[in-house]
Every structure is written in structure tokens, then in C-alpha cells.
């Protein structure tokens, strides 16, 4: 049994009587079943209004003017011509003359006009004079001794060195060592709905329709940036087209949209175009590890010594967990952040973990081959011991069986012909868990039920599980509940990030609904002449627990309220959620050794996540994690020109993303740990697919690919190296 999650600051640290009464029951009928997404019909018909779909009366269109240079000083910004252009209603500086722009796409000014075409025309009339300065676009250029020092305190920020155990002793115990460099690249979030908002002022009150992962969090940011009380800012996000971590902050684009709306005296919609989205809405930092690792003759990891670095862009960090999960008893690591003239990173689905996973798992297969141990067995042997949040030994064994790992051939497929097949596997871990959030349940005399929570549905199905938990608690069908989310008029909930939404919001939803039912039973008890404590709600009735015939229908019970309504609030409490998940993935690939093209045939996932809320949407999230990691492994790449610092593929045709034909068969095995409550599943499934694919490519060909993405060119190069030097 895992230690219950430590409560967030200011939250109760003891299991309350309320939680004791309303904690997740052993058996649930709605929660955990495959319930179809409630807003599915709205999404498939186009009725769902995303922020991008909000059209307000008299609305203007905003456009950001951005630096074309990766590094320059602004000499002057001249908005006068733009201001005179047809339809233009507002033009504002974001930066002032004298300021530096630090990356291509760094915002400089913003304008608004009555149509999108006209604002784009006017944007070309903004005259910004730049004094171009030396830049460093690529990590290796930034680190080079001769590199211009672009950042005030240097291009490289050294971190601390962490050391555990006795490194010398560890390497003395090693029968074999591997010394190699592993790296992952920068990718961008590529949200289908780009970053943007619609801002509308009424006096000193601001309404913002924002494509966001956190309505309350961004309301706070905007209020602070605008210098107005947070109570004057309402943020609404009913539907949002993907964030993956990049939409937890309001950003310059939302702030300038609000300022343009104020200046224009009209609502303004400002959305990034696809190029801006690639340049200035965050990215996953790169990661590189130069490693020496040792393994004993009997297949135990003995030592790991590594220098690591990465870039999170212009002034942002790049850390990641390493070595990932496996038990290297003696280890030393030092990390440095390298600054480059590129857009700053933002959290991206399981920040740090996909990098750590790839940088570790490929090495694991190399070490396993040196001691001639099956890589699955090798992993099981070197995983941390079993614990509720560390189930790898068990999941690897089970997953191997389900996957048919016994059919794996030793490294290099000897089958004749150009198509080679290989298997690989990799593990993952994630935190998740709950944090401060609140919910309100309202029951009206007509029997209607609303559950209000200022959370947001970023595509994970939050709206649906809010209704499911409420329905479960009140003994009603899901269709009887109206979930009301995505608006700061509802009780404050945290951002949807870090796989925390379900674990943060479902406990207060359950507790608020439980309190509401208690309040209703207080009316029903006297009417039935029974102690309210003996009452339960099932199948649309409130009745005596041991005597189902003594009770009344839900609607009749609510009628007892007369003209009053029940409104109960609850906050997040300890005891209904946990932090810490573990899982593993298996991949089968084919590699065409003539073209270097890798195809992923199937992926098998074993993943735990506490109590599954909605089986259907939970599995969808796992599918999505796998697909995201497949893109990371094989296709997507933010490609920069080293000389100009320009992104050369800021679009969706040469920034490659998998389509239907690239899809593997995905098999999902969710491992419920019901006693741990809710945990969250958004991120862990996207951690280890890329590593499993890389290991499978190595198994198929013998070529070890130590950097992502595994393009056909890299596969062919690695195969040539392998032919020249044998297995490394």
C-alpha cells in the first residue's frame, strides 16, 4: 500500500469524517464503465464552440508583429503607417525601442483591424528597425568555445553535480562498459487549435475566451499583468483544441489581445497562425547525455557516469530525470542548461520523461547484449523493487507474456529479404495526484442536478467524468447530471497539467455531491419516518438501505425542497487520490533495410492509474500517448537553419506527423489500483513508446540509433556503422 499523498499546502492533512463517509466505494456502477463522452455529439457536429469559433458582435482581429531575427536590438518601432491602413482600430507596442529580441518570433507589437485579411495587410506596414546581433541557434554552436556570448550570464548555465554511491567501485565491478552519447531533439506541441483568445471589455471588467489548460490560473496571470482585480477577469474555455502543456499560461498573445480590445473599444480575437505557433508557444527541450555505464558479468548494473545538457531556448531550463528508473547503485551526473536563440520551452506532456526514457533504455539494450541476457529479463533484474508506484517487475513480466516476447529473436533479424522485424520494451513512471480544487453540487426542487467546477476539459473527458462521479454518488443516470466547467464563475480548480485533473477535481466532485445527498436525505428521512443515516440513493430512488421498497423516487424527494435548492461546496481532501504511477510498453517494428523506413506494427501498453474513471476515455488517452511518442520517435523535428537561426519547417507538411497509415495496432492493459484512489493517466503513456521503438529497431537490424528522430537516413547510417564495426 502506497503512502497516501501528502496534501498540498493549506489542505487538510487528516482523513476527514466526510471522506470516510464518501470515499470511493468498493463497487461502483458508473465510474469505471465505458461511458461515451457527453460532448461527443457537439464535437462531431461542429456545434462545440472552441475559442477559435467565438465570433462577437463588432469583433476585430488582432495580429502580433514578431521578430524575424533570432537576436537583434530594436532600434525603432513605427506603427504610424499601419495605424492609417484600412480597418485598423488599434496598434500597440509590446516591446520598446532599445529592447532585445531573443528569438525568431519574439513578439514586438500588436495591431487590430476589422477583418483578418486587413490586419494581415496592416501588419506588413509596421516598420521595425533592428540592429541584428550575433546569435546561436544550435546547442553545439552555443557551447562551442568560439561562440559569441549571447546571454548575459553566458550561453551555458552549469547545474549541480549529483553523486550517489562509489563510482570507482562500481566501474571496478563492471565486466563491460558502454561509453556513448544519446540525444533527443526539440519538438513543438502543434496544438490543432493554435494559441489564442477573444477579449471583450465591459467598463473595467474583462471577459476572455481563452484556449487554455487553466481558466483560474490564467485569470490570475491576466489580472496581475493588467493591474486589475482578479474578480474583474472572467476566463471561459468550454472546448479547447489541444494544449499538451503549452496552454497553462496566458502568454503575451492573450495579454496583448486584452490590451488591443481596450484600445480598440471592441472585442478582439487574436490567434497565432501555424508558424507563430511553432515559434512561440513552447516546445519540448532537447536532451543529450554523454554516458559511461557499467554492467557486471552476472548482468547487474554497477555504475553510471554522465554529463548531460539540453536547450529550453532563450533562457529556459532543460532538465530531465536520468538515469531513468533503473537501479544504478553508483552514479554521478552533472547537467547544464544551454541557452539558444529559440523560443522558450513550455511543459510538454510528461516533461523530461520521454527524454530520460530514451537516453536510458537504448543503453539498457546495449548493456544487456554485452552480458548476453534477454533485455526484458535484464530490465526486470535491474528495476527497483516492487512497490505500489513501482510495479515494473510485475508489469514487464506480464506485458512480455501478453506481447509474445518469447518470439523475440536475438539482436539482428536473420530473416532473408529487406524487411526485418524487431521487438523492444521500455518502462515509465509519473507522479500525477491531486491538488487544491473545489466543486459545488446544486440540486433544485425539480430534481435537476448541476455539478459546477472551474476545471476544464482539454480533451481528456473531464466534463464526462465530472458527470459520472456525480451520477454514481447520487444514484442517478449520467444523463441526469449537468456538468458545468470551463469558466471562472465556478469554484476554483487547478490547471490541467501534470496528469492532475482527475485526481484534483474528482474528490471534491464526489464530496460535494455526497454532501448534497446528505442534505436531501435530511428532508427525506422525516418524510419517510426513518433516520436519514439509513438512506441511500440508487437507481433514481432514495430508500432505506436494507429495505429498498421503503423510499421514494428522486423527483419526489427533490419536491420536498419546496422552493429552496441545495448547494453544497467541497474542496480537495486527502485520502481519495494518490501520486505515482508505473507502466511499461512493448513495440514491434519492421525496418526496411534498403530504405531505412521504420514502421511500427504494434504497441502493447501495461499502465496503472489508480481507479479508472471512464474506461473509454482512459484508453483513448493511452492511445494518444502512444501516438505522440511515435511521432517523437520517427517523424516530428523542429529543424533550424544553423546560419540564420530560422525554423525551416514551421508548418504541418514538412514538420512531419503520423497519419492513419502510420498507425500501429495499440493494445491497452489498464492496471487498476483501486485502493490508491484517483491518480491520472494523461502523461505516463507518452513516455516510453519512443524508447521501445528504438530498442525494437536495434533488435531488428543491430543498428543502435542513439539520437531522435529515427529518420530513414539515420537508420541507414547506423546500419552502415554497425556493418563497419560490428555490434557496439
Amino acid at each position: 500500500m502506497a503512502k497516501p499523498q501528502n496534501p498540498p499546502a493549506g489542505q487538510p492533512d487528516k482523513i476527514s469524517d466526510l471522506v470516510k463517509k464518501w470515499n470511493w466505494p468498493e463497487k461502483m456502477t458508473v465510474v469505471g464503465s465505458p461511458v461515451k463522452r457527453l460532448d461527443g455529439p457537439d464535437k462531431v457536429t461542429g456545434r462545440a464552440k472552441y475559442t477559435f469559433d467565438i465570433n462577437r458582435p463588432g469583433m476585430m482581429y488582432g495580429k502580433m508583429i514578431r521578430s524575424p531575427h533570432p537576436h537583434a536590438r530594436i532600434v525603432s518601432i513605427d506603427l504610424t503607417e499601419a495605424q492609417k491602413a484600412p480597418g485598423v482600430k488599434a496598434a500597440l507596442n509590446y516591446k520598446q525601442a532599445g529592447a532585445e529580441v531573443m528569438y525568431q518570433g519574439d513578439p514586438v507589437a500588436a495591431i487590430a483591424a476589422d477583418t483578418e485579411e486587413r490586419v494581415n495587410d496592416a501588419a506588413r506596414l509596421v516598420k521595425v528597425q533592428y540592429e541584428v546581433m550575433p546569435h546561436v541557434a544550435l546547442v553545439e554552436l552555443a557551447m562551442a568555445a568560439a561562440a559569441p556570448v549571447v546571454f548575459k550570464d553566458g550561453n551555458v548555465r552549469p547545474g549541480m553535480t549529483q553523486e550517489n554511491g562509489d563510482l570507482d567501485a562500481g566501474f571496478k565491478d563492471a565486466a563491460y562498459t558502454v561509453e556513448q552519447t544519446y540525444s533527443t531533439h526539440v519538438i513543438t506541441h502543434v496544438c490543432m487549435e493554435t494559441h489564442g483568445s477573444v477579449c471583450e471589455w465591459e467598463g473595467d471588467k474583462l471577459t476572455v475566451w481563452l484556449s487554455t489548460q487553466g481558466v483560474h490560473g490564467t485569470a490570475q496571470q491576466l489580472a496581475m499583468a493588467l493591474g486589475i482585480p482578479q474578480t474583474n477577469v472572467r476566463v471561459i474555455c468550454q472546448y479547447m483544441g489541444g494544449g499538451f502543456g503549452s496552454k497553462a499560461q496566458a502568454g503575451a498573445e492573450a495579454l496583448m489581445c486584452a490590451k488591443l480590445a481596450k484600445a480598440a473599444g471592441a472585442p478582439v480575437k487574436m490567434f497565432m497562425d501555424r508558424k507563430e505557433e511553432h515559434l512561440d508557444s513552447g516546445n519540448r527541450p532537447s536532451a543529450t547525455a554523454s554516458v559511461k555505464a557499467g554492467v557486471s558479468a552476472d548482468g547487474r548494473l554497477t555504475a553510471w557516469d554522465g554529463q548531460t545538457w539540453g536547450t529550453g531556448g532563450a533562457g529556459a531550463g532543460s532538465n530531465f530525470p536520468l538515469p531513468y528508473i533503473y537501479d544504478f547503485p553508483n552514479r554521478r551526473r552533472s547537467h547544464k542548461d544551454v541557452f539558444t536563440n529559440t523560443g522558450q520551452q513550455r511543459p510538454m506532456r510528461a516533461p523530461g520523461h520521454p527524454q530520460g526514457s530514451f537516453l536510458t533504455e537504448v543503453l539498457m539494450d546495449e548493456l544487456a547484449d554485452l552480458v548476453k541476457v534477454d533485455p526484458l529479463e535484464f530490465r526486470i533484474k535491474n528495476c527497483p523493487p516492487l512497490a505500489a508506484n513501482a510495479m515494473w517487475r510485475s508489469y514487464l513480466a506480464e506485458g512480455g507474456q501478453l506481447f509474445g516476447w518469447e518470439k523475440r529473436h536475438p539482436t539482428v533479424d536473420q530473416t532473408p529479404g529487406p524487411i526485418k522485424t524487431g521487438f523492444g520494451c521500455a518502462v515509465n513512471q509519473w507522479g500525477g495526484g491531486g491538488r487544491a480544487s473545489a466543486a459545488r453540487c446544486e440540486i433544485t426542487p425539480d430534481g435537476a442536478v448541476a455539478l459546477k467546477a472551474g476545471t476544464q476539459d482539454i480533451g481528456t473527458g473531464t466534463r464526462t467524468i465530472v458527470a459520472m462521479v456525480t451520477a454514481e454518488t447520487l444514484g442517478l443516470p449520467v444523463s441526469a447530471i449537468t456538468p458545468m466547467i470551463g469558466d471562472t464563475i465556478y469554484p476554483a480548480c487547478g490547471n490541467s497539467g501534470g496528469s492532475t485533473t482527475a485526481a484534483s477535481v474528482m474528490p471534491p466532485v464526489r464530496l460535494a455531491a455526497g454532501k448534497a445527498l446528505d442534505a436531501l436525505c435530511a428532508r427525506v428521512g422525516p418524510a419517510l419516518g426513518v433516520d436519514p443515516a439509513t438512506l441511500v440513493a440508487t437507481n433514481g430512488r432514495i430508500h432505506v438501505k436494507d429495505n429498498p421498497s421503503k423510499g421514494m423516487a428522486w423527483k419526489d424527494a427533490c419536491r420536498l425542497l419546496g422552493t429552496e435548492m441545495i448547494a453544497t461546496d467541497a474542496g480537495w481532501e486527502i485520502g481519495m487520490s494518490s501520486t505515482g504511477t508505473s507502466g511499461c510498453q512493448f513495440a514491434e517494428v519492421t525496418v526496411d533495410v534498403e530504405t531505412g523506413i521504420v514502421k511500427v506494427k504494434r504497441v502493447l501498453v501495461v499502465q496503472d492509474c489508480g481507479i479508472v474513471m471512464d474506461k473509454l476515455t482512459a484508453e483513448s488517452q493511452v492511445n494518444g500517448g502512444v501516438v505522440g511518442s511515435l511521432n517523437f520517435a520517427l517523424y516530428e523535428d523542429r529543424i533550424l537553419d544553423r546560419n540564420t537561426g530560422q525554423m525551416v519547417n514551421p508548418n504541418m507538411e514538412s514538420y512531419l506527423l503520423a497519419g492513419m497509415s502510420e498507425m500501429p495496432k495499440i493494445e491497452v492493459h489498464l492496471k487498476e489500483q483501486r485502493e490508491r484512489g484517483v491518480i491520472g493517466i494523461g502523461e505516463p503513456p507518452t513516455v516510453s513508446t519512443a524508447a521501445a521503438i528504438a530498442c525494437a529497431v536495434r533488435n531488428a537490424t543491430g543498428a543502435t540509433i542513439r539520437s531522435l528522430p529515427m529518420t530513414p537516413q539515420k537508420v541507414l547510417e547506423a546500419m552502415q556503422q554497425q556493418k563497419a564495426g560490428g555490434l557496439s
Binding site: P41, Y50, Y239, G241
Partner: protein
């Protein structure tokens, strides 16, 4: 027009998927062919000059006539989204790569972000907004809901229209035809397996 399906009866030059196009474009053959067609059209005698100011246009959208005044450079997608409040179809990439804008024009799927509104006057335009009959979902829409073939849902209208497009052309589409019909669309949440599941389930089901 920018047909994206592979069942066109039009010249072979359009008969390519996005990936085929990229492959061919890299060796230059297709680019030349497209240029050749475009040049022939541009040099046609008596070509009428429209714009650059706003011009009246009439579009037949979801069975209704819509009258708009737009600049000739306005795309079909932007005309409907920003001037007719038909916001069902989305703009993802704005250059014919992601498919979120997929509409059906005279029976063929088209990237409406790369189609000028003025050039589809007189054609039958169908958007996701007009697919359901009242509250009764189109079988493809129902199949998407049943299979949870969506997450954030922003790409969903495009995928729904692409699925409708391929299944109207091939009611009993083979797996290969389904893959091909859906290859022009991108889902960043990674919903593909269930989109395929939905498309396969609804294959052969006539409109209810």
C-alpha cells in the same frame, strides 16, 4: 479546388495523397505537372479580373444559398467561418496539410483552407455543420461518438467529413481505401485507432 481524395475523375495530376505528393514533389515531376495545368488556366482567353476589393458571391452551403461580400482572396473556410458563422470546420494549418477544414464540394473532399470561396460558386458545398439532420446524427458521426473517436475534438469535423467522403465514394470501402481516404488528416491527440474503428464499423451502413 484542391481535391484531397484519390478517387477523382479529374486529370491524374490531382490523383495523389499528401504523402505521395511530398514524395513526388521531392523529385520535381509533379510540381512541373501542376505548374503546367495552372499556366494553361491562367492564359485562357477572356479571363475575368475580379477584385481586389469586395465582390458579391453566392454559395450553396448545406443546401442553402448564402450571399456574401468578400475579397476574392478569401478562402472558402474563412468565408464560412468568419462571415457566415459556420464554425464547425476548423483551421489547423491553413495550407492544406492537416485536414481540419475538410469539406465536401460537389461530392469530393476538399481542403477548404486552400480553396477560394469565389471558385466554388455554383457548386454544392457540404460542411460538418450540415451533416446531422436536426438532432439525428449522421451514421459516421454516431460511430465517432460510439467509438470515442475524438479527444480534444478540434480535428474531428475534418475527420468526420473525410470519412463521409470516402464512404460515399466507396460505401464498402476496403481497408486500403479507408486508410487512403483518411491519410490527409492529422489528429494531434492521437485518436487515430478509434477513428479507424469508427470508420470500419460504419462501412456498409446506409444513411439511417
Amino acid at each position: 479546388m484542391n481535391p484531397k481524395d484519390d478517387q477523382s475523375k479529374k486529370p491524374d495530376v490531382f490523383n495523389v495523397s499528401r504523402r505521395d505528393f511530398l514524395k513526388s514533389a521531392s523529385v520535381g515531376g509533379l510540381v512541373t505537372a501542376v505548374t503546367a495545368v495552372a499556366e494553361v488556366e491562367a492564359q485562357a482567353p477572356g479571363a475575368q479580373v475580379i477584385g481586389p476589393g469586395e465582390v458579391p458571391i453566392q454559395l450553396n452551403v448545406n443546401g442553402k444559398q448564402i450571399n456574401l461580400r468578400i475579397e476574392p482572396r478569401v478562402t472558402l473556410l474563412d468565408a464560412l467561418r468568419m462571415r457566415a458563422d459556420l464554425t464547425g470546420n476548423k483551421r489547423g494549418c491553413d495550407r492544406g496539410a492537416c485536414g481540419a477544414c475538410t469539406m465536401i464540394v460537389d461530392g469530393r473532399t476538399a481542403y477548404s483552407c486552400s480553396t477560394l470561396a469565389i471558385e466554388v460558386q455554383g457548386k454544392r458545398i457540404r460542411t460538418v455543420d450540415g451533416l446531422a439532420e436536426g438532432n439525428k446524427l449522421h451514421p459516421v458521426q454516431q460511430a465517432f461518438c460510439d467509438a470515442d473517436a475524438m479527444m480534444c475534438g478540434f480535428c474531428t469535423p475534418g475527420f468526420v467529413m473525410a470519412t463521409v467522403g470516402v464512404l460515399e465514394k466507396y460505401p464498402k470501402a476496403t481497408d486500403a481505401q479507408l486508410y487512403k481516404g483518411l491519410d490527409g488528416n492529422i489528429c494531434r491527440c492521437g485518436t487515430f485507432p478509434r477513428i479507424l474503428e469508427a470508420a470500419m464499423k460504419v462501412r456498409g451502413v446506409s444513411r439511417g
